[in-house]
Symmetry: C2
Subunit: 350 residues, 2 copies
């Protein structure tokens, strides 16, 4: 009935993920006085008391799209499903407090498999000090689907949106980027080797950091606290889920500004550099478009530079420009390349 | 890898939906001081300000399990997905204020189909005065999955849980029950007829109420307001999603009480009675086990009876007893039958 054989119809892949969300949600208006920020940031911001906001974010993880159970242990999957959502809360400069977890599972999963999944969820909730307060469990006609909603709180004056970046602000990223994507490449390669020779024992030793970043990412709970300690309020912030390039474009578009990103400043782990060489991949492309890093990307006023300068968690990778100047990567050879969002797009043509 | 061929493993259907949720969530503890109520009620209850609570509830709807697109128009599906969640908020005696909507869709859906779905979501949000504040859209390897999270507010002293029913309290249900289940039977029959003869035009005229209750249910937004006007605070409340029998059992178990339900008091629409006769179904079984009514079931102190007595929306269908007396249906013939939860179970063996 809804097969897309009619050429007059628009296929989802013509719009892409962000285009589709924009298209479908552009008519939603804000009517409730408790709604401070609706669709369009890492989380919605609600206000029910004078000085404190509630932030809420939700994500769906779909088997075969976001994860492959042939190399993703269920315990890790449960852990990662929580991280993906907490990361959105921290990107609002907020503290995560609760989550709900809904599952759709087919009968091919025994209860013991779901116990593993929940063990990962429990581990994440204990480590990040959040309560699991609700959810829904239902059957699925095919794969496993996990829907997590995360809730957090932030003082009204501390909340940080994507749209506050101003010309001359510095662009800062936490940790390093590109490793999770390479971890996926390593695991995909091992899966192919295993198909040919099921007795082969993979040697993942040179890739431990990459595989860990893919299978057991950690959300940056520490960063809102660190920023408070350093007395720095970012002018904008977003989490790095789709790739550095895609995220800086979100900030620039929503803030109505441009940017220059410096290739030689992008923080890369030595394993990322070594593995890029082995896989014959360009490390900058991996860093910009890899995604799933769950680091935070933010902008600060130049006068805050001295406060963050010495911090090993934080790297200045560029600065905000006037919108007219566009969004560019300045390469090591000092050429300017326009940034494009090649973020991992789960809605591209199958 | 996780195929359930090992007999030492427990299949999900051995536990059933409620058993599975209990089993998986029993280890979750409450650590956050902002968490008032976690898993186990219609919604979680959070507190971020002195006198007001935030309630939050989430539901997954899965194609082929919860809906069949061959007779469920997408606009109705969008509307219903919102109602299912708002109903949980009203069951806490709260006012719904926001929702988030996440979708997993396969490429077989053209954008126009998703526009229809969103038209239903928009209609519901305008009619019920809630804001759509977030969500996620991703691809699915097979069917359509909709995950809605609803948020509401309630004065701390007005929140109603499932566990407050006391001996001698009266059991009250809003509206009437059983119609949505019969609507589904009518639609399933028409689908079979259509398969045999695609030119047949169904005459749904005698079933309009039933079909509307199935395809376009309305959550009881009016009831928390009505209860406030009548100056009645229920001692316990739940929404009727799985069937009257299943819901009263939830209330009794969580309140540690028993109950007597009177067969002749259960409110049935004339179309329910006529169609049960036509389909040779027992109307009491349909009313008790049908589900998807999205009415509210609650208990009140006997001294509040006069306040609700004259109200056409409310019907007293029984009373709470001591736990030792068990949970029973008192039939028209004045025999006592133990109540069993035969609620619609989406996790039974496929």
């Amino acid at each position: 009935m809804f097969e897309n054989k009619d050429n007059s119809k628009t296929s989802i892949s013509q719009l892409g993920e962000f285009g589709l969300i924009d298209h479908l949600t552009k008519h939603f208006t804000i009517e409730q006085e408790t709604t401070i920020k609706g669709i369009g940031d890492d989380a919605a911001v609600l206000n029910y008391s004078e000085n404190q906001n509630v932030v809420i974010s939700t994500d769906l993880l779909v088997e075969g799209v976001h994860f492959d159970l042939s190399y993703m242990p269920l315990k890790h999957l449960g852990y990662k499903a929580v991280m993906v959502n907490l990361s959105d809360i921290y990107a609002m400069n907020a503290n995560a407090t609760q989550i709900t977890v809904s599952l759709a599972v087919s009968n091919r999963f025994p209860v013991e498999a779901l116990e593993e999944l929940y063990a990962g969820i429990t581990l994440a909730s204990k480590k990040y000090n959040i309560d699991v307060v609700g959810g829904d469990t239902t059957s699925s006609t095919s794969g496993l689907i996990i829907s997590v909603t995360a809730i957090g709180t932030v003082n009204s004056i501390d909340v940080v949106y994507r749209n506050g970046a101003k010309e001359n602000d510095l662009i800062v990223v936490t940790g390093d980027v590109g490793a999770a994507y390479l971890g996926l490449q390593v695991l995909e390669r091992e899966k192919e080797v295993f198909k040919v020779n099921p007795k082969s024992q993979p040697d993942l030793e040179p890739y431990t950091y990459l595989v860990e970043r893919q299978l057991k990412p950690e959300a940056r709970k520490d960063i809102p606290n660190l920023l408070a300690e350093l007395d720095v309020k970012p002018t904008s912030m977003i989490d790095v889920s789709d790739g550095l390039s895609s995220e800086i474009i979100h900030i620039c578009k929503q803030s109505d500004v441009g940017c220059n990103l410096y290739e030689d400043k992008i923080p890369l782990d030595p394993q990322v550099m070594a593995t890029c060489e082995e896989f014959e991949l360009d490390s900058t492309t991996v860093a910009l478009s890899g995604g799933e890093d769950y680091e935070l990307l933010f902008t600060i006023q130049t006068e805050d530079f001295l406060k963050i300068k010495a911090n090993p968690h934080l790297t200045v990778i560029g600065h905000i420009t006037d919108k007219k100047e566009g969004m560019h990567l300045i390469t090591r050879a000092n050429t300017k390349i326009p940034l494009i969002a090649r973020g991992w797009n789960s809605l591209s043509e199958e």
